[in-house]
């Protein structure tokens, strides 16, 4: 049996409705911002429960925009985690600031007990990541940030649909980012991102800044960038958004089945603790496993496309050498980099495929246990 990691061919097997929308777009010639982008922004804002949503060209772009909007200045420091996609830190550098990492907890989320020690007089923002589509303890993050008068930017890139006690990821920080990369829960046919905020002033700034600082066709108020969501992608995103709840529920169902299947293998492989009230969207289904690299090869040899997100933590990347971190600085994060594995558990996986995955994992450990 084959258990594929990517499901895009299945998700977009029937594209007629999308194509009809695209034909309409082509007939209008509205290829830069315009009604399709605006309609999607309104719809997304309503879904998340915020006043403003601004489409961007990428999730990375969305993060950079958020940091600019909360006033992150060159030379200042932004606190985030090292166990995330490189863009979380890359966006901080692109905004001119220095990434300051804190370790993660056993749920792979920012360790809220370690934030305070990382705050200095130069800290200009705290940027927790909803890593893998699971939310960190946002209430605690906000409480610490408020106490120090530091703005919070949520990197909710992987987490459209994630909630804490009914409240969406992207509604806790001042200005927050989502990605719509093909392997995110809300995905488009290429790159796309969204910034959300309830702050009118930040929204006004971002509408200017993301389109060259243009007030209108002739007047440039501030130096800006080109970070626009493409209308083609807004059309795709809008249709996917119509199905997002079903899609997330399917992911949750599959994740629960995988959780149940792994019961009894606790000494070998463990999904993280999943506290009450946190709705995870399983952008990645993560677990920590002993003899991870061997397990990975075994799964792949049996047709199961498992992966590792990611084997090298950001503080140990070549790019980060100037930041002067070393192995040992973030023990939990480093341990996870060696043990973490991503199992296919997306919305198009069948129960049979999940059961097959579990049986192969059992086979691997029971064979090796004797």
């Amino acid at each position: 049996m084959r258990v594929k990691y990517s499901y895009l061919d299945e998700q977009f097997a029937d594209v007629e409705a999308y194509f009809q929308d695209l034909r309409d777009l082509v007939s209008t010639g509205e290829f830069t911002l315009g009604p399709f982008v605006e309609a999607f922004e309104k719809k997304f804002a309503a879904y998340i429960g915020v006043k403003h949503a601004i489409g961007t060209n990428t999730g990375t772009g969305a993060l950079i925009l958020c940091l600019k909007a909360v006033g992150v200045k060159p030379g200042s420091e932004v606190i985030t985690v090292a166990n995330t996609f490189i863009a979380s830190a890359g966006a901080i550098v692109a905004a001119g600031a220095r990434p300051v990492f804190v370790d993660c907890d056993e749920r792979y989320q920012i360790d809220v007990t370690k934030i305070e020690a990382a705050i200095t007089s130069n800290t200009s923002a705290i940027m927790p990541v909803h890593w893998a589509g699971c939310s960190p303890k946002m209430g605690r993050v906000i409480e610490i940030a408020d106490r120090h008068g530091i703005p919070v930017v949520e990197d909710s890139c992987p987490a459209v649909g994630a909630r804490i006690n009914g409240r969406s990821a992207g509604t806790f920080g001042r200005v927050n980012a989502f990605s719509m990369h093909p392997l995110k829960p809300l995905n488009v046919w290429g790159d796309g991102g969204i910034v959300v905020t309830n702050d009118d002033q930040a929204a006004d700034f971002l509408r200017l800044y993301h389109n060259h600082g243009l007030v209108d066709r002739d007047h440039v108020e501030i130096w800006g960038v080109n970070e626009r969501l493409q209308p083609v992608q807004a059309i795709v995103a809008s249709r996917v958004l119509d199905t997002i709840e079903d899609l997330v529920e399917a992911r949750i169902r599959n994740a629960r089945r995988l959780d149940a299947g792994l019961k009894g293998l606790e000494s070998y492989i463990n999904p993280p603790y999943r506290p009450e009230g946190y709705r995870e969207v399983f952008q990645l289904y993560l677990a920590t496993a002993t003899r991870r690299d061997e397990l990975l090869s075994f799964l792949v040899s049996k047709g199961i496309e498992a992966k590792v997100h990611y084997p090298i933590p950001i503080h140990l990347q070549n790019a980060a050498r100037d930041l002067n971190y070393k192995r040992g600085d973030f023990p939990m994060c480093e341990l996870q980099a060696d043990e973490i594995i991503t199992l296919p558990a997306h919305q198009h996986i069948t129960e049979e495929q999940i059961d097959y995955t579990v049986s192969i994992i059992r086979e691997f450990y029971e064979l090796s246990a004797t």
Partner: protein
């Protein structure tokens, strides 16, 4: 909004002509399941480099990103300067600021492009590069500019956003400087159905750097060599661009024929964009210089012709540039342009009778007023 009998663009009509091929291109991408930096981007990059008569091309998210990434690759320090033209689209200068340097402007010639004779005065020991703009589809005076740049050891980045296919002395834009940037914005001769951009260069090291910097600095899925950006050309846009690129030379030829026809029709009334010696222009915008421009524009608009001004406020007088400290008196040729330029509708589907109508209106404006 008024409806125009002769609108400024005909994007929807143009796209309808090739809708089937475009949708097929999109389908190819969907069938492949590769949405990010796949085979279509790769193939388009090679075809684009060939079209520019150069070695390498790399796809990015927009013309602005193209400029930004190349300028970033220079490692500009605060206080260093990069020279460009003040009568361009804002991105020519904003990307210099974004990359951490100071935009310095130099006035233009009568033809609307950077004046090489004025370059030297603007060069000092903080100058790192020159960004000549090939505005409106006309090549800048690259031989002179390169000679000066060579003497001062400056990087030359062609801003060819508006000029794909234009050439000077038989050599295409995009093949002159250390690197060149192109925009594939919907209003460009070759355009994406959204945003897109390209960088061309003969320098393999620069291209290798850009192929990482546009994709987070990633050498592969796991290793990040330096802090980068996410500025990738969309796979789907690349697929659609390949459809258009096959037709580009024909469409450019039509555009040129129409532009030269406009020149003959309008020469008695306004200053027309004749080609200079050795120039092969692609007329991405067809810009005349007219006396009483604002009145003429209103007259044309009221009579169903959509005429625009590119650009009404030069960059050095934008609020964004306030801290650079320029005044209106700094660039007299630019100010003369800004007061007179008017862009008329020009696209491959424009008919001779539509052109005649525009010419009649302009003629009657000057004869009756």
């Amino acid at each position: 909004m008024p409806t125009y009998t002769i609108p400024y663009t005909a994007l929807a009509a143009e796209a309808s002509l090739e809708k089937k091929e475009l949708m097929r291109a999109v389908e190819t991408v969907l069938d492949s399941g590769r949405y990010v930096l796949g085979p279509e981007v790769k193939a388009f990059e090679q075809e684009f480099a060939d079209h520019c008569q150069t070695e390498f091309a790399i796809g990015v998210a927009s013309g602005t990103c193209a400029l930004h990434l190349v300028l970033r690759s220079l490692g500009l320090n605060e206080g260093e300067e990069v020279i460009t033209a003040p009568n361009s689209f804002i991105a020519s200068a904003s990307t210099i600021a974004l990359a951490g340097a100071k935009p310095v402007f130099v006035d233009i010639c009568k033809d609307g492009n950077l004046d090489p004779a004025k370059l030297e005065d603007a060069i000092n020991d903080r100058t790192r590069g020159i960004v000549p703009v090939h505005l409106t589809g006309r090549p800048a005076r690259m031989a002179d500019i390169l000679e000066i740049a060579g003497r001062h050891d400056l990087f030359v980045l062609e801003d060819a956003a508006q000029s794909l296919g234009a050439s000077l002395d038989g050599k295409r834009v995009g093949s002159w400087g250390n690197a060149a940037c192109f925009s594939l914005h919907p209003l460009k001769n070759l355009h994406a159905f959204g945003d897109g951009g390209m960088v061309t260069s003969r320098n393999p090291d620069l291209i290798a750097h850009l192929s990482k910097s546009r994709n987070h600095g990633l050498a592969d899925r796991e290793q990040c060599d330096f802090w980068g950006f996410n500025c990738r050309l969309d796979e789907m846009q690349a697929a659609m661009l390949r459809v258009q690129l096959r037709r580009l030379d024909d469409w450019t030829a039509t555009r040129r024929t129409l532009a030269l026809r406009y020149n003959d029709l309008l020469r008695p009334f306004v200053d027309v964009p004749d080609e200079g010696p050795g120039e092969h222009c692609v007329f991405q915008t067809y810009v005349i210089k007219a006396e009483r421009r604002d009145e003429l524009r209103i007259f044309l608009n009221e009579n169903g012709v959509e005429a625009l001004v590119h650009y009404a406020t030069p960059i050095h007088l934008q609020p964004a540039a306030a801290e650079l400290g320029y005044t209106a008196a700094d660039f007299p040729e630019t100010m003369d342009h800004v007061g007179k330029i008017l862009s008329l509708p020009l696209y491959p589907m424009l008919t001779h009778s539509q052109q005649d109508r525009v010419a009649e209106l302009i003629s009657s404006f000057y004869q009756n007023n």
